[in-house]
Symmetry: C2
Subunit: 357 residues, 2 copies
DNA sequence: TTCTCATTTTGAATCGATTCAATTTCACAG
DNA sequence: CTGTGAAATTGAATCGATTCAAAATGAGAA
């Protein structure tokens, strides 16, 4: 008779406990440590809970005591859709997702192009730690995340600050391997399609400009290319570099320029697979055969590279390994002592071949 | 002198309040409603907070009282990586992400192939509501989510239960348009590559089997194809249907069968863009030209369809609109009264043309 | 000087669970 | 019948904030 009036509002654990005639402690145990309560009681409480329409222990209540969310956040200074649109981010996230899957960790996507929003999103994300995609705006991201005082790892950080836990690939070494691969095939006329070297700039870049680029990822790749090519007697000054912003218009503008030269390149060093794929499309539309007329090599090793015709030769990042380390570091809160560096491997597919004689 | 010993443990709002010599209420206001506290005091509290290394109001504490997480979960009965690997899921999520971005909502990915894990993940996801991707295992997903007693919307639900709030596309109507498009181009020999009709089955399906398929999405598409084709005097019995599981091996097995027939089809009705793209690849590898020898039409309208050569003709789902409605429904907790249905539109690209004479 | 009213600040209650030391229950040995 | 130890249960403290009625403060009017 009295019980009926309980129907109003949401049912709390305490309500269930009272209705079942047990203490709140026991009721709690029924849900979180069922083994410690006598079967008979447990059943009764469960039944009562169902009868009252109890939705199970509220996460917030539990959370408050436990302090663990059991989820990690992946953050970037980009619109949220970036995680699904950008091939590199996608490949990385697929790997991160896989790792999370196996150890039952949740995954939250955190991002915003606008600094204020980003700040708020990072502050209010319910996660135990962050993986930062620092391709662009990395320092900002790191700074914002620091304030949150949660463990984090920076990926692809364009900054040499050793106090930031980060995992990066060996850009210089990888780039050198890429250039060497083409040089060994016999190419001598190269051109570089670069990812961002400095803010708000698109177009040809001089050696000096590239050398003092603020984005170390792109800079190191350039250094790697140069180093390898000079081993073949090709001075860096003779290798045109065109800086893009990793999108179609800027890549095509670059190609337009490079291929209107009197002696167009026979080999293109693209600093990302995205650029490389765009380049291949442009070249073929222009009536140039890849790899017969022009060889193209990318960087990253995104899955799309293996699904086009011809397959894209590229320097593949070990996404699974990067994801594994990053997730582990964040979850265990044992952020890598300093900068960790991971090797990339040359994957030869159909987009590179010896030059026409 | 006394203050120094505060350094141990984590700093709580109460610590800051005490150190700053204000009440906890005021300290709280400094962070959550700064306008109500006098500037002088506010500055002092803020400064004290910074000095103590206070990380800002703990989300869990806030959460407990506010009850809103400000995030939605997207769930599927698939491994987590599905969200990044499957083209349809990806396209949809990109749109969902965009909507979330504009209204500052967080996005959490929830999923597991294994029922037990899924149950746990759904139970413990910190979200205000769910968007369910029901392509496969929809009922299970809906059932599990119901227990959580949070608002949710089911997308692409293979079930006609009107008590479930769901948003779907007009599968039958769309399929009819697709088939009509090809018939009007002059095609008369069709074949259907179907998405899942029933559990654990791959291979040719009879009209009867397709008619009583348990997955309504696939069934409705088949019904739409039939309806349109019969308008052109092609009886359903003469249209072979091959059921795939939307992956490469099963699609290729289907094509192998269809094209070893004495009179192979000139037009392929694929129930997903994924299948259509795989089919195009197979056909070209086999030396058949698309669309000269064979026309292919897909269903879904994933971005990849516009980026291949030839472009894929398809029935495009309005992802942005679906996402908008779904997010809105979940956030406002005004789940659509019952089933909502959205139209798909024919997008003609290069993969369809009149048949060779 | 006293009274009013608006602005700030306070302090205690509250959100919904978990946890653990203390207590009760129970079966069985002595 | 008592004593013992294991198992089950209790009840109160706790997590970290927000909220709001009530109290304090201050400025201006009478």
């Amino acid at each position: 008779m009295r019980e009926i009036e309980l129907a109003k509002g949401t049912i709390r654990l305490a309500d269930v406990a009272k209705a079942a005639g047990v203490s709140q402690g026991t009721a709690s145990n029924v849900f979180s440590r069922p083994d410690v309560v006598r079967e008979e009681v447990r059943e009764h409480v469960l039944e009562t809970a169902k009868r009252l329409g109890y939705a199970g222990p509220s996460l917030t209540g539990r959370l408050l005591r436990a302090g663990k969310v059991n989820a990690i956040g992946v953050a970037a200074v980009e619109p949220l859709a970036y995680f699904f649109d950008d091939p590199w981010a996608r490949a990385l996230l697929a790997s991160v997702a896989q790792i999370c899957d196996t150890n039952g960790t949740g995954l939250a996507l955190v991002s915003a192009k606008d600094r204020h929003k980003l700040d708020w999103n990072i502050k209010s994300a319910l996660v135990d730690g962050f993986i930062l995609l620092c391709v662009e705006g990395g320092e900002k991201l790191v700074q914002l995340t620091r304030e949150r005082q949660l463990p984090f790892v920076a990926l692809a950080l364009n900054d040499d600050d050793p106090s930031i836990a980060s995992i990066s690939v060996d850009n210089m070494g990888g780039a050198a391997v890429a250039a060497r691969h083409l040089a060994e095939l016999g190419h001598r006329r190269f051109a570089v399609l670069a990812t961002e070297l400095s803010d708000d700039h698109v177009g040809p870049v001089s050696v000096a400009e590239a050398t003092r680029a603020i984005y170390s990822t792109s800079r190191d790749r350039a250094l790697g290319y140069w180093q390898a090519l000079e081993g073949f007697g090709i001075p860096r000054e003779l290798v045109p570099i065109y800086e893009t912003i990793n999108d179609k218009p800027s890549v095509e503008a670059g190609l337009e320029m490079l291929f209107s030269a009197s002696e167009p390149p026979t080999a293109i060093l693209a600093m990302s697979d995205n650029i490389a794929l765009l380049a291949i499309n442009w070249l073929r539309a222009r009536g140039l055969s890849v790899p017969r007329d022009v060889s193209v090599i990318g960087f990253d090793g995104v899955p799309e590279g293996g699904m086009v015709e011809p397959g894209l030769t590229t320097m593949a990042q070990p996404f699974a390994e990067i994801a594994r380390r990053a997730v582990k570091a964040v979850l265990d809160d044992v952020v890598p002592a300093k900068r960790e560096m991971i090797d990339v491997t040359l994957v030869v597919r159909g987009s590179t071949a010896p030059p026409k004689r």
